[in-house]
């Protein structure tokens, strides 16, 4: 690859202008942890590249009952915030210290499967994603953002600018299962958020990663938990339902067979953590 131009815009409007000028040929990268390996190996040969590190989209702030995470906030920033423990956990389970210092929350929405482990946690938290384009900003639920395999509803002239998580984040648990203990792609990732009324579950979110074309919600499993006390039978039922709902794939990390087997196990383990009282906030 012989890159003719590398842009480092200083603001969102400047970045959008560059997209407007150069169109979809412009390769956009934030942390570079996905794009640079491909460029270094000659698998990606862009003429023009834009980096987002200087655009100022990296603020993490609590406001009006939401945690707003700028799209270029690093995974280290996410790890260090205390408002949403689930996101801190997810960041800690992702990559390595150096990669977390470089990789971004927004970028994690686009990491090739089975990446996107932060996205799984965001999905379980009813996160909204904000997109900015020449016509202005729009916000939509993250659940509606993923449209297919490696495709999203982001249009060619837009950028992801922020992810917003409603607070408090509730009773949550996260398990990333890989072939190594750390710095490893996922075989299965599970993020769960439960809302309780006394000892009964009144709302549930189960998000799964690396077992579908993008992070998915196991909605049947979620519905099955409603009204239960998260007893062993309820947990087993949720694990079974989640197994049926997922669409695992085969790659160099794991076969579809193994992923399907492990979804149930990891969902069960994650629900067990919650039953044992991990991260419980009552509101």
């Amino acid at each position: 690859m012989t890159v003719s131009d590398y842009f480092l815009p200083r603001s969102l409007p400047e970045a959008l202008d560059l997209i407007g000028t150069h169109g979809p040929e412009l390769l956009v990268m934030a942390g570079g942890t996905v794009a640079m390996p491909l460029i270094n190996d000659g698998l990606s040969l862009p003429r023009a590249v834009m980096g987002l590190r200087r655009t100022g989209l990296d603020r993490v702030a609590q406001l009006d009952g939401w945690l707003h995470v700028g799209a270029t906030a690093t995974l280290t920033q996410l790890q260090e915030q205390r408002a949403v423990p689930l996101l801190s956990e997810a960041a800690s389970a992702t990559a390595s210290w150096s990669v977390r210092n470089m990789g971004t929350v927004g970028g994690n929405l686009f990491t090739p499967p089975p990446g996107g482990d932060i996205a799984v946690a965001l999905l379980a938290l009813d996160t909204n994603v904000t997109l900015a384009g020449p016509k202005g900003e729009r916000t939509l639920p993250l659940a509606d953002f993923f449209t297919g395999f490696m495709t999203t509803s982001l249009t060619d002239d837009e950028l992801v600018t922020a992810l917003s998580v409603p607070l408090p984040s509730g009773s949550t648990a996260y398990t990333k299962f890989g072939r190594k203990q750390g710095n490893t792609p996922a075989v299965v990732t599970v993020a769960v958020r439960l809302t309780w009324d006394a000892d009964r579950i009144v709302d549930a979110r189960i998000a799964l990663g690396a077992v579908g074309p993008h992070p998915i919600r196991a909605r049947a499993a979620e519905r099955g938990l409603l009204g239960t006390t998260l007893d062993p039978d309820a947990r087993a039922a949720a694990a079974t339902a989640a197994t049926a709902e997922c669409e695992p794939f085969t790659d160099a990390i794991a076969t579809d067979w193994y992923r399907r087997r492990m979804v149930g196990v990891v969902v069960a383990r994650t629900l067990e953590k919650l039953a044992a009282g991990a991260t419980r906030e009552d509101r």
């Binding site: 390996p37 990669v99 470089m102």
Partner: protein, 164 residues
């Protein structure tokens, strides 16, 4: 294809280079500045042998366009090596025989430096966690973790037996 001038601090000196667009910091250090201590093991962000510090935080120079570090402070192994003798971390690696082929060592030393700057008294688990992005194919990691523990002790001014 327009080259540009990028200036950054490398240790205690100012560096100015002329680069083609999207040249990595790794390439600049090794091919233009003559600072070969930062190694090249994968160019994928997977091995950690290219680790440098940017404003004190560990990053992988193989994935970092040098333009992104303009005006910032980069620290490499050369930067922490004193004119005479060794940095206590380097001393601890020598004492503890914490290397075999030596290729991963610069990356390990830089992560150790960052860790001990952030956390002067790390546990065995904290050290292992900090090193999770650095691959060694020779030692099995235990001598490296022990050496970093010993370095922590030395830097705090107290002698501590290396943890196993």
């Amino acid at each position: 294809m327009a080259s540009s001038i990028v200036a950054f601090e490398l240790g205690d000196r100012e560096v100015e280079v002329v680069v083609r667009p999207l040249t990595t910091l790794q390439s600049v250090l090794r091919n233009q500045v003559g600072a070969m201590a930062t190694k090249e093991g994968c160019r994928q962000g997977g091995c950690g042998s290219c680790t440098v510090l940017v404003d004190g935080e560990p990053m992988l120079s193989c994935l970092l366009p040098v333009e992104d570090v303009a005006g910032r402070r980069v620290t490499s192994v050369e930067s922490i090596t004193p004119p005479e003798g060794l940095h206590p971390i380097q001393e601890a690696f020598v004492e503890g025989n914490a290397f075999q082929c030596g290729y991963c060592t610069p990356g390990m030393v830089m992560v150790a430096k960052a860790l001990l700057d952030h956390e002067p008294d790390p546990t065995h688990e904290m050290i292992a966690e900090a090193l999770i992005g650095n691959v060694c194919r020779c030692t099995g990691y235990q001598p490296i973790i022990a050496a970093i523990g010993a370095a922590a002790g030395a830097l705090q001014g107290s002698k501590r037996a290396p943890e196993r």
